[in-house]
């Protein structure tokens, strides 16, 4: 069975040894290496691709789903390279259409400097735009999103002791990017800086720290705070909720607000259970230390009981109101609460997981030096 994580014990080969170490210390090194090797044989699952932790433990062993995603939903599972032919690291960001993924390429670590379209069918790439790096940049381009004929992202720069965010946009067909608006970033906090940048029919929206939801028209101007959204984070437009996506102790978006209609929905859970994941219309909650879970509509109607196919699942957003990811020893799985189907994602053991981006349809996972791209939107 492959090892999921690099262990701290494994890293002892890189430890710095001081001169004149005592014999006792030498014995200790032996013990440490032995301990590390033992730890290295142990397998630890990861919470897949979600920013939340708080995994549960199954009361009974759970084996991996028998079917792999490539066989059950072949139209949804794709592999793509992690590097361009010139060696630039690639990151999938969002779907441009059913078979085209918006990707970015990095020139140096975390510095995305071009936007490209990757065709999942034939493996070709098409450059859409460069990504400018303004003077004084403190945070490279991030938060890439696409929709309604636009691609957008944000960067941050230091100016006069403040950190200023620039919101950039370029036509989805490509071209020269331009700054739509600039505004001060909030102090860095657990709520994040700019999250869930979204393209609307008439402009852009985003969440900012605990300050709420903001909008700006395509033509630019000063960002406008949407009243009543303080402390909320965009989930899926027009829904914003709390806790936010970086909450690690409980499921995000347990309470959601339609920022256009004002409709508010709360999580409804079974007695003695905790929400694992919430979507727009329903939440799934679990009883501690069991694989038993309940799916409950936010409208309070009677729910149904299911048995989770995982031994570990962390609080996460319920993608597209139906998909949940989780782990077992040495495997990660995708579970569709709508149909009860569970599939093995066959991810590799690198232990790396990619946090959800702006596109709820896109699930990115590592698979043998490639990306596994899952288009959840193509699953019937």
């Amino acid at each position: 069975m492959p090892q999921a994580f690099e262990t701290l014990g494994d890293a002892t080969v890189r430890r710095k040894r001081s001169r004149g170490r005592t014999a006792a210390a030498a014995i200790a090194v032996t013990a440490i290496v032995a301990g590390g090797a033992f730890a290295g044989l142990r397998f630890l699952p990861a919470s897949p691709s979600e920013p939340t932790v708080g995994a549960k433990v199954a009361s009974a062993p759970v084996t991996s789903p028998e079917q792999r995603i490539d066989d059950v939903w072949p139209q949804a599972a794709h592999e793509m390279p992690t590097k361009l032919p010139d060696g630039g690291k690639v990151r999938p960001r969002a779907f441009l259409d059913e078979t085209t993924v918006l990707i970015t390429a990095e020139s140096t670590f975390e510095k995305a400097d071009s936007v490209l379209a990757y065709n999942l069918k034939n493996g070709t790439t098409r450059k859409l735009s460069n990504i400018p790096t303004p003077q004084g940049t403190s945070l490279f381009a991030d938060g890439f999103t696409a929709g309604n004929g636009h691609i957008a992202w944000w960067t941050a720069r230091k100016k006069d002791g403040k950190e200023i965010a620039d919101l950039w946009s370029v036509p989805a067909s490509g071209g020269e990017p331009a700054i739509v608006t600039s505004f001060p970033l909030p102090p860095r906090s657990r709520d994040g800086l700019i999250t869930a940048l979204t393209v609307l029919p008439d402009g852009f929206a985003w969440s900012m720290g605990s300050m709420g939801v903001f909008k700006v028209p395509f033509a630019g101007g000063d960002p406008q705070a949407i009243a009543g959204t303080q402390g909320l984070h965009i989930f899926q437009w027009p829904w914003a909720g709390s806790p936010g996506p970086r909450e690690h102790r409980s499921a995000p978006y347990q309470t959601v607000l339609n920022v256009e209609s004002g409709e508010r929905r709360a999580a409804v859970t079974r007695q003695n259970s905790q929400p694992l994941a919430c979507g727009i219309t329903q939440c799934i909650s679990s009883l501690a230390d069991t694989t038993e879970a309940g799916i409950q509509g936010r409208d309070g109607q009677e729910g149904r009981k299911v048995s989770l196919p995982f031994s570990a699942v962390g609080p996460q957003a319920l993608r597209l109101d139906r998909f949940l990811t989780g782990d077992g020893p040495g495997w990660s799985a995708l579970y569709d609460i709508k149909t009860g189907t569970a599939v093995d994602l066959k991810v590799d053991a690198s232990g790396v997981r990619y946090l959800p981006g702006s596109d709820p349809r896109l699930l990115v996972l590592p698979r043998n030096d490639k990306f596994l791209i899952v288009n959840l939107g193509s699953i019937p």
Binding site: G9, R190, R353
Partner: protein
């Protein structure tokens, strides 16, 4: 100075399960309290997370500031080990700690020319 941009989780429940699973020789890897790191937006957390009973540490890289994270550990003999989280912004990575680790610390890391690694912005050691 660039700010730290990681988050580390030392799962209390996991440590307890490990202790049961491995007997008395296993160290209890448990941070007793949640600590807000003094950097902006980066935290240590103590969140129960025991997928299969092993203690894990989770490192988040949230912001594209050009730096990775180095997770260092210190054992009971004073030796230091490390692992690097260099998967990039918007990623998480879990690490399995050996039973001998007694303290954990996270730092930013930057790859300089010539293979040199600069380590900076280190948090204080947190004893587990």
């Amino acid at each position: 100075m660039r700010k730290m941009k990681w988050l580390l989780i030392a799962p209390l429940t996991a440590a307890l399960v490990l202790a049961v699973g491995q007997g008395a020789s296993a160290a209890l890897l448990a941070v007793s309290a949640t600590t807000d790191y003094s950097g902006e937006g980066d935290y240590w957390d103590t969140i129960p997370n025991s997928p299969n009973g092993s203690p894990t540490f989770r490192v988040y890289d949230y912001e594209a500031d050009g730096y990775g994270v180095r997770l260092r550990s210190r054992d009971q003999w004073g030796l230091t080990s490390y692992v690097d989280q260099t998967a990039g912004a918007d990623t998480i990575r879990d690490y399995n700690a050996s039973p001998y680790e007694i303290a954990i610390q996270a730092c930013n890391r930057d790859a300089l020319s010539g293979g040199t690694i600069r380590v900076f912005n280190c948090d204080s050691w947190v004893y587990v």
